[in-house]
């Protein structure tokens, strides 16, 4: 397998050393049947499944799993349990959940995947309950459900406003109980491709600076979103899209990257999330004129229209001068009363007090829209399989696609657990019919990473890497934010390209490899710049408005030309865009009104 050139394709710009220093690297090469990259809900749910199968697996995470961003999810998880009746005593079912999801997605979601997710949702919520999660309860003892944006029923199961926290801790407890190996604080530096399939990865052990190699028959990406590419984001600081960069670098396409969700209600100043559950419980949005402006934009759903609709409405109010100084509006909960706030929304009350000095029981919360979720991600089919055999993706880093152009609140926690389990099952099947991988490619990949780090450390510094990151996040929010237009985006793309060029000459001061968090951030920023370019290119090409992607120069949805998924892949150094059809099922695309 000397020919073909695809045995080692990572980081193509580097020439790997001629000699493989086996002696120095072999001790840090680990073998597992399955590698799961990412320790949030998707990764932990997959780990649980792999552990039950008896195969050898391991989870690699750049942070302790409990510090994953899943922990920050607030409002809940959708499943048509029907515990709370809808209007006129109607009862919910999974098809209505699927319909709301597809309509919410502005018809860009693949309906086979949506159907699967909504059908599996019920068992998924029960499963979590059986694992010990403490859900909020109704008087009759059943799991409580609340209304959420874009949903026809009170369908969102919740644990006060700490649903992600409760779920993540439960899953961590389950995985810990299995003694499943976890490589904590390992930053994955490359995926390894050999003979046309993915056979592992390399990673820096952050605490020691040592480069490790991992060999496996399959790799599952569960690395989360790339929210931190934008400067007003609800996301944890660790959400830097690393998994997407890794996939791009082994030639795996990303999908629908122009679709970035802006959450309507993020705390003014820090952009920490104020759950949609706040409006689900009856909270309302008020502008500086004292008007409940959502009545104008969504006469039926009002404050509980889907996120794209509400975020655009708030932004428009602010732009037209009906916001407060600094650019925000009010989320008013005061009429809910102290008891309801303390019972249902204690977490966001605490956050509002800690970070904005505002007690929502007493006064309205200052909020503005901010980046929240990445609908796009690694192109994966309904089984989580990517174009590269052996490489799978699930959760926010993947685009399967169940959210299309706009995700409904309460569907992301659901996606992580449904696909964490289902994709793990597919991986288990795949592994049982896959030959043993070869160690050599991993050894070469370790050498490549070592040379790359050496090269970066040897560069001459000319600017601060963090200021490049600030410029990037500012450009992305200002030029690829809630409202987009071709001219502004073209300017933004040029800026990003200049930043990429500038960054390629930069280095860091700290040359010591052990506990070098600046090196980790350097690698994150390098990847984020590429992701920013990807978002920019995909957004410019889509000349229509659909879901979260709003073009003021192309204000209408254009099903004739754009009812299709965008694919983008890295071919040598060029990013190539192509398209593929959307899977339509029960629901024919129609106009989306709320």
């Amino acid at each position: 397998m000397e020919s073909g050139g695809d045995n080692v394709t990572i980081l193509k710009t580097l020439k790997h050393n001629e000699e493989i220093s086996v002696a120095s690297t072999v001790e840090s090469i680990h073998y597992h049947d399955v590698l799961i990259i990412g320790g949030g809900l998707t990764g932990l749910r997959a780990a649980f499944q792999v552990s039950n199968s008896g195969l050898s697996g391991a989870l690699i995470s750049k942070v302790h799993p409990l510090r994953s961003h899943s922990v920050a999810a607030q409002g809940g998880m959708n499943a048509s349990l029907g515990n709370v009746p809808g209007d006129d005593d109607a009862s919910d079912d999974w098809k209505m959940h699927a319909y709301d999801t597809v309509k919410g997605s502005d018809y860009l979601a693949d309906q086979d995947a949506v159907e699967k997710m909504c059908l599996e949702a019920i068992a998924t919520v029960y499963e979590l309950e059986h694992m010990g999660t403490v859900w909020s309860r109704l008087e009759n003892g059943k799991i409580a459900q609340r209304p959420f944006g874009g949903a026809g029923f009170p369908r969102t199961c919740y644990a006060a406003d700490r649903t992600g926290h409760n779920a993540l801790h439960t899953l961590y407890e389950q995985v810990l109980n299995k003694n499943f190996p976890i490589y904590e604080e390992f930053f994955v530096t490359s995926l390894v491709k050999d003979k046309g399939r993915c056979i592992g990865c390399t990673a820096i052990e952050i605490m020691t600076g040592k480069i490790h190699g991992f060999i496996s028959k399959a790799v599952l990406m569960a690395t989360g979103g790339f929210g931190r590419v934008f400067n007003r984001s609800t996301n944890a600081l660790i959400n830097t899209g690393d998994g997407l960069t890794l996939a791009l670098n082994v030639g795996v396409p990303l999908k629908d990257m122009e679709f970035v969700q802006f959450h309507p209600t993020t705390l003014y100043g820090t952009n920490i999330l104020m759950s949609e559950g706040a409006r689900g419980e009856g909270g309302i949005l008020i502008n500086s004129q004292g008007e409940r402006f959502m009545e104008k934009y969504a006469p039926n759903s009002v404050d509980l229209a889907p996120r794209d609709v509400v975020a655009r409405s708030i932004e428009q109010e602010i732009r037209e001068g009906r916001g407060f100084d600094g650019g925000y509006v009010h989320l008013d909960l005061t009429h809910l009363g102290s008891d309801r706030i303390m019972e249902r929304l204690p977490g966001i009350r605490q956050i509002a007090m800690d970070f904005a000095g505002v007690d929502p029981i007493e006064e309205p919360i200052p909020i503005q829209p901010g980046q929240h979720y990445s609908m796009g991600g690694i192109d994966a089919d309904i089984n989580g399989a990517t174009m590269l055999p052996g490489l799978y993706a699930a959760g926010e880093c993947a685009c399967i696609s169940v959210h299309g152009a706009n995700r409904l609140g309460g569907n992301s926690l659901l996606e992580t657990l449904v696909f964490g389990r289902l994709v793990a099952d597919k991986i288990i099947d795949y592994i049982n019919q896959t030959p043993e991988p070869d160690i050599q490619a991993v050894q070469l990949a370790i050498n490549d990473i070592e040379s790359k780090i050496k090269e970066v450390m040897g560069r001459k510094k000319s600017a601060n890497i963090f200021s490049v990151k600030d410029e990037m996040t500012e450009t992305m929010f200002q030029k690829f934010g809630i409202f987009r237009d071709g001219q502004t985006m073209e300017k933004g793309l040029k800026e990003i390209l200049n930043m990429e060029n500038k960054f390629s000459h930069l280095t860091i001061d700290n040359k010591n490899l052990a506990v070098n968090q600046t090196l980790v951030q350097f690698l994150e920023i390098e990847g984020m710049l590429k992701i920013a370019e990807v978002v920019a290119r995909c957004a410019i090409k889509r000349e229509e408005s659909r879901g979260s992607h709003t073009r003021t120069d192309h204000p209408d949805r254009d099903d004739e030309n754009y009812l299709k998924h965008t694919l983008i892949e890295l071919d040598d150094k060029n990013l190539n865009i192509s398209y593929k059809p959307v899977t339509i099922g029960m629901f024919e695309p129609k106009e989306r009104v709320y």
């Binding site: 302790h64 510090r67 919520v125 059986h130 694992m131 403490v134 926290h165 800690d354 968090q517």
Partner: protein, 254 residues
């Protein structure tokens, strides 16, 4: 304002303190100040961060001699003297560093755990103790088809303990943990109690017997620091007192 930061790595004989001056802007947190330190003063500084919203529990450290989450702690409030928390004394909070609390914020690693570098401590011991109490749901009956029903009245007490984010601020504030490195500590015991009171479990008293030993329920001296520093208002003291009561009652009945 100035940030005075504890610096240490394994090749140093003794730790040192670095002081960095920065502009105080409204909303500046200790975590924000540490990022400024990293970006403008010395990029070799090491500290944990993730959510920056006081929910993930990774950034607990000793701030002005009190264990706190760096992301949640407002610098301005510290300088105004608003965030003083009276603690029962233990050696790690001894005022042995020269610092002016009116214009400086003192940042040191969380006590009672070994320092790896600067503000990063090795959490293994904390998580070993957590693991030792078997933090996994052990249901009473076989798995039902739907959810197990739960009285909504039982939720508030459970939530007191499920709200724990395992940041270890309590562990770093506990005089007993400082004195007896084998003591399981407040977080692990509160977690054990969370499973004990879960009405879906039916292991009864057996559950809390996991920690029926001197280094478990019986080592606590009710200093109360754990409750005072907890960013989520978890009350380990109540759990410990109630567990002891149950164990004592059971002992008498036998």
């Amino acid at each position: 304002m100035k940030l005075k930061v504890y610096r240490y790595h394994k090749n140093m004989e003794n730790p040192r303190y670095d002081t960095f001056e920065l502009e105080l802007k409204p909303g500046l947190t200790v975590l924000g100040a540490l990022f400024q330190f990293q970006q403008n003063f010395d990029d070799s500084i090491a500290f944990h961060y993730s959510c920056r919203g006081a929910v993930c529990g990774t950034c607990a450290m000793l701030i002005n001699k009190v264990p706190r989450l760096a992301c949640r702690t407002q610098v301005e409030s510290l300088l105004n003297g608003d965030l003083k928390i009276p603690l029962s004394f233990y050696p790690a909070i001894e005022e042995n560093v020269d610092w002016n609390p009116k214009e400086e914020v003192l940042v040191e690693p969380l006590p009672h755990l070994p320092v790896i570098k600067d503000l990063i401590v090795d959490m293994d011991k904390f998580f070993d103790y957590y693991k030792e109490i078997e933090p996994v749901f052990k249901p009473a009956d076989s798995t039902p088809k739907k959810e197990r029903l739960m009285d909504p009245e039982s939720i508030p007490e459970l939530e007191l303990y499920t709200n724990c984010i395992l940041c270890a601020a309590c562990f770093g504030s506990c005089p007993v943990d400082g004195n007896d490195p084998e003591y399981l500590g407040p977080a692990a015991l509160a977690k054990l109690y969370r499973f004990y009171i879960d009405p879906r479990e039916a292991n009864g008293i057996e559950r809390i017997k996991t920690a029926d030993m001197p280094r478990g329920w019986w080592d606590c001296k009710f200093h109360g620091n754990c409750r005072r520093v907890c960013p989520k208002d978890v009350p380990p003291l109540i759990a410990i007192a109630k567990a002891r009561e149950q164990l004592e009652k059971e002992g008498e009945e036998r």
